[in-house]
């Protein structure tokens, strides 16, 4: 029935007649061009009962276009009409967004008109999305049917880009549907007319809920939602989410947890055709280590040539830049290939997005910035370069391809090294069986709570008991104890220090009526400037210099680059950024000036926090695959040979045991362990093990960690020490390392300092650094590191330090995962003493020298520099 080059333009409505040509779609961007992934088998005609809830104009509107609503859309409508909150879980492109808005649109369409002279009504529906761009997209897409049907519904966005006059007008004359972000909701709550603004609210629609709930943004949003329920007790929430491992967590998240464990209704739409995923089978040798996948560039390019539009996903911005360079190096047909990642200039990103939607690109290299559900045109292939690190993430990314109802989406995985071959294989099998490994939700952060408490006070004076109950109705804070809550209030009021010297500077104070009220309008102003939970690493704007040789002046902006990378550059250094080779010219204030460079020897900027750790689920699958030679047949020969040789030369660890190899090499002794728990947990483990080995007299010199294994090297013979049980491996890996050793190391760790800085900014202890604030102002500001040192030595149990430790434990240190691993392998450690390095150890050994654990041992670098002088100058 369909010809090639045509796409289905329904927004997951079952389209029965109209088919538009691709050419047409280029001319006029169709309304609701949500893809219709996986709906072919799921098109029962709407039942009589269900269609009864759809008002006449809608039925007519659908009929005129030859469409009919999908079953899950009507199901959601009827549940909300029965007064329920609902979580809708559906794969990308199943028409979630229309489903989410149908209750509002139908309700608004049948609402009595406002009589002249009657007061303006507050907003009816609040839509919250993690991306500004998504809110803007939705405004455009919703506008059309509202216009077609002539519905009396006003729809507006409110984001950081909304001009002040429009915001003020929105306060006076609220739109019926407001499309916004979590930060804007927090700001609205902190305004004195919040109650009036929200008192007519009926629905809150939370889009991409799965991506919101796992972060501090989600914590802030959950508190905002609790506040909205405080204004409107029978508020209904509608969550839209991709498939997750634990839907019940999200169902609880949507509704008041008073009583606890209450859940919203759930509607699940199953995915349709199984995606067609393959692992790239290259003639080239798969490297032992590294992340660039350079070996596969030729194959990837061929795949791009064979498809219309290819989306290439990588895990980090550095990898995106590298892959883009490599592709253009061999791009003999000058195919239009673009680059998209979060550090690029916004204008540049918007241009790429537009070109993508207009179907003028053949390929886009992208990071997770393209994970979320904006429509990306006619993608027919997804290539994932590097292992996907999680099965759910892979499934979501693959869902980006396929705008056709009757074809499976097509994806190619390109492992960058041998362990990644195993990981890709495991992920592929997981995707086939539909396994989910989205991370479990964590308890609400106390720094976020502090921000929210101040925000509430900025809105209106609050009663502590009432607010405590309200906050515990938010799922992440359901278990919050009263003492912690009171300490957060004390923190907001006077800093919460044991030495109570700041009473007279309090930001909030108890009134005679027993309510907490802000002491000064300035407090509310400061709050508004610092709202939000996204704390970016200090970054510099990258700009072209205008005049060569003359004074540096700003040319075109290219994006942002992290300060710690720029600081290592000297004039003339070449680096790649925004898909270009750039020559570093210098820094002025917070601008990094560059000119066009040539590609002699280039550096690649690194970005903090860009790496996802291997998911627990995939780790387990990889361990299982290693232990079971019967499954190796699905691996490429070079990889299965590698495992067989390992079996000969050493041993392969059984699934539930931890293999530890020791061997001498050069003048040093090595220990390689294979926990498969991800790089963050391994780094923490490496840090703790070296402390212990130091105490045992092994004289450790360093360690390096990958997602799969950990290598420690020393001057002492660790193999002999383990054999003599001085110490035994069981003692070395004992869980008690998570006690004093962890505490002692943590206290001086740069990781904790960085985490503290984020917490201090979110909690409002120190102000956000804005672009344009001069660096030379440094000597008058107080750095978070100094505050941390002072606080730690004088008040180690301060509420902010508690928040910091909780954060580090689940974030950069991954202590939770390390603890689970240590308990799992207790009494199950297999020691293999070898004379030589084993095949399995090669990948991590190749990382030595390439990777360094950032931020530690800086003094040794100073010492080196000082020695250079001594060397040059000779003894005095």
């Amino acid at each position: 029935m369909r010809k090639d080059g045509q796409i289905w333009l329904n927004f997951a409505l079952q389209k029965t007649a109209a088919v538009r040509s691709r050419r047409f779609s280029r001319l006029a961007k169709p309304v609701f061009c949500f893809s219709s992934y996986g709906l072919t088998r799921q098109s029962p005609p709407p039942s009589e009962g269900a269609s009864a809830v759809l008002p006449e104009p809608f039925v007519k509107w659908f009929a005129e276009r030859g469409w009919a609503p999908r079953a899950h859309q009507l199901e959601l409508l009827s549940r909300t009409q029965a007064g329920k909150s609902v979580l809708l879980i559906a794969p990308t492109g199943a028409g979630k967004t229309l489903a989410g808005f149908l209750p509002s649109l139908t309700d608004l369409a049948t609402r009595p008109k406002r009589k002249p002279g009657e007061a303006h009504r507050g907003i009816h529906t609040l839509y919250i999305s993690p991306l500004k761009a998504l809110a803007v997209d939705i405004e455009r897409n919703l506008g059309r049917p509202v216009e077609d049907m002539g519905l009396p519904i006003s729809i507006e966005t409110r984001t950081g880009d909304t001009p002040t006059h429009k915001r003020q007008r929105q306060k006076l004359v609220p739109p019926d549907i407001l499309l916004t972000t979590p930060e804007q909701l927090a700001l609205l709550i902190a305004s004195s007319d919040a109650r009036r603004f929200f008192e007519d609210l009926r629905y809150v629609v939370l889009d991409e809920l799965h991506s919101l709930v796992t972060s501090k943004r989600g914590h802030l949003l959950s508190l905002g939602l609790a506040r909205l329920r405080h204004y409107v007790p029978d508020l209904q929430s509608i969550g839209l989410s991709a498939t997750v491992a634990q839907p019940d967590e999200l169902r609880q998240w949507l509704v008041s947890q008073n009583p606890t464990r209450e859940m919203s209704d759930l509607i699940t739409v199953e995915g349709g055709a199984k995606p067609d995923i393959t692992i790239l089978d290259s003639e080239e040798r798969v490297p032992w280590a590294g992340h660039s996948a350079r070996y596969a560039i030729g194959d990837v390019y061929e795949a791009i040539k064979k498809h219309k539009t290819t989306l290439l996903f990588v895990n980090t911005r550095s990898q995106a830049e590298l892959l883009f360079q490599e592709l253009w190096r061999i791009n003999e047909d000058t195919l239009p290939i673009a680059l998209h990642h979060g550090s690029l200039d916004v204008g540049q990103r918007r241009r790429v997005e537009k070109a993508m939607a207009d179907n003028v690109l053949r390929a886009v290299v992208a990071t997770s910035t393209l994970d979320l559900g904006i429509d990306w045109g006619d993608v027919d292939l997804v290539v994932h370069v590097g292992a996907p690190k999680g099965a759910s993430r892979l499934a979501q990314r693959i869902g980006r391809a396929n705008h056709r109802m009757d074809e499976p989406s097509r994806a190619i995985l390109v492992p960058a090294n041998r362990f990644e071959v195993l990981e890709c294989r495991a992920a592929l099998e997981a995707n086939y069986v539909g396994a989910q490994d989205t991370p479990p939700l964590i308890e609400g952060a106390l720094d976020v709570l502090a921000q929210h408490v101040l925000g509430c006070a900025c809105g209106a004076p609050f009663d502590a008991d009432e607010l405590y109950n309200e906050i515990r109705s938010a799922a992440p804070y359901a278990a919050l104890d009263r003492d912690s809550f009171d300490r957060v209030i004390a923190f907001v009021a006077t800093g919460g220090y044991a030495l109570r010297t700041y009473e007279r500077y309090a930001r909030i104070k108890l009134t005679k009526e027993g309510k907490w009220r802000v002491t000064h309008p300035r407090v509310a102003q400061q709050y508004r400037l610092n709202v939000g939970t996204i704390v970016e690493a200090p970054a510099l704007n990258v700009r072209y210099t205008r005049a060569k040789g003359g004074a540096m002046r700003g040319g075109a902006p290219l994006g942002k680059i992290e300060e710690h990378f720029v600081e290592t550059l000297t004039q003339g250094d070449m680096f790649i950024f925004a898909g270009k080779v750039l020559r570093f010219e210098g820094i002025r204030e917070n601008e990094c000036y560059v000119s066009n460079g040539n590609s002699s020897k280039v550096l690649v900027p690194s970005y903090a926090g860009g790496k996802f750790p291997l998911s627990t689920y995939l780790a387990e699958q990889v361990r299982g695959m290693l232990a079971d030679p019967a499954r190796w047949s699905s691996l490429p020969d070079q990889v299965s040979d590698w495992l067989r040789i390992q079996q000969d030369k050493s041993v392969l660890p059984p699934k539930d045991q931890l293999l530890v190899e020791t061997f001498p090499r050069g003048s040093r002794f090595y220990m390689v362990a294979y926990p498969f728990e991800g790089r963050l947990a391994h780094q923490t483990l490496g840090m703790l093990l070296t402390r212990r080995l130091e105490r045992s007299g092994a004289r450790p010199l360093g360690f390096v960690a990958t997602d799969y294994s950990l290598a420690v090297w020393s001057l002492g013979d660790m193999g002999a020490m383990f054999k003599a049980k001085k110490p035994s491996l069981d003692d070395l890996f004992d869980e008690d390392m998570l006690g004093d050793d962890l505490e002692a190391w943590l206290n001086d760790s740069w990781l904790l300092k960085r985490t503290f800085r984020n917490c201090a900014v979110i909690a409002g202890l120190i102000e956000k650094r804005y672009p344009g604030q001069e660096k030379s102002g440094r000597q008058v500001t107080v750095s978070a590191d100094l505050i941390y040192d002072v606080l730690r030595s004088h008040e180690p149990d301060h509420i902010l330090l508690r928040a910091t430790r909780a954060d580090a434990g689940s974030g950069l240190l991954d202590v939770r995962r390390l603890a689970e691993m240590l308990s799992r392998i207790r009494g199950r450690i297999m020691h293999k003493a070898l004379d030589h390095i084993s095949p399995l150890a090669v990948p991590v050994m190749m990382e030595i020298g390439r990777e360094s654990v950032n931020g530690e041992a800086n003094d040794s670098l100073l010492s080196e520099a000082a020695d250079l002088i001594e060397e040059a100058m000779g003894p005095e």
């Binding site: 290592t568 120190i766 670098l861």
Partner: protein
């Protein structure tokens, strides 16, 4: 910051010996400068009560900075037992800082001051004499060919010991950047690091330092974890 527990005896390897305008001195790891021949100890930019100064404006920083700074000062004084102490200006973060000083700290400070000559050099943050504290307040102090003043003078400068700028220095080694507070000197003039617990710092190659040093003779004595590292100006990065 358990300074007292470390071996900080004068002349240990944790301090670095230098010569400024012919006078021998040691740069102490904690950020103090000691002229043994003169029995004179200099510290700069204590910025006492900076925490409470911020708190007045709504940023509720921990109120422990004064305690930390004074503890450190007490330890340095106990180590060197100087006859003369010069506090090189910005001793208090603002004009009311001395008045806000808690009684315990005031008493501790007075104990440190007892039996020695104590000079408060006036700074831009604290141009007036600190309220109700002993010691002599001066605009600048000349001793044995040295001049102690808060803000470095644009002209001359031989024998000048100054503060105000909070110098730090940065090197890049093995592709990694290390930044530390430092003493900066070209042998004629010396600018001291800030001593206070909440004091930030400014790179010694910043334009604010323009014209103060003979570039080719500039040395940064960077304050590491356990010792002072003398680094040649040619290795420094802005």
């Amino acid at each position: 910051m358990n300074v007292a527990a470390r071996d900080m005896s004068p002349g240990s390897s944790q301090a670095d010996a230098i010569v400024v305008a012919g006078q021998r001195a040691v740069c102490d790891l904690r950020g103090a400068l000691y002229f043994r021949d003169l029995g004179l100890l200099a510290v700069s930019d204590l910025h006492l009560e900076k925490g409470s100064s911020f708190a007045r404006r709504g940023a509720l920083l921990p109120p422990y900075d004064t305690a930390v700074t004074l503890q450190r000062l007490e330890a340095v004084i106990a180590d060197y037992r100087p006859r003369i102490v010069v506090s090189l200006g910005d001793s208090f973060h603002d004009g009311q800082g001395a008045a806000r000083l808690h009684e315990i700290f005031r008493a501790g400070l007075e104990t440190m001051m007892a039996g020695r000559d104590w000079y408060w050099v006036a700074g831009n943050h604290d141009p007036e004499a600190p309220a109700d504290l002993p010691g002599e307040t001066v605009r600048e102090l000349a001793v044995a060919g040295l001049v102690f003043r808060h803000e470095p003078a644009r002209k001359g400068g031989e024998g000048e010991i100054a503060g105000h700028l909070h110098p730090c220095a940065r090197i890049v080694q093995r592709g990694r950047s290390v930044r530390r507070r430092c003493f900066a000197s070209d042998g004629l003039r010396l600018i001291m690091p800030a001593f206070g617990a909440f004091t930030g710092s400014l790179n010694v190659l910043d334009k604010a330092y323009a014209g103060l040093f003979r570039r080719e003779a500039l040395m940064a004595y960077m304050l590491g974890q356990a010792r002072v590292y003398p680094i040649a100006g040619s290795l420094l990065r802005a």
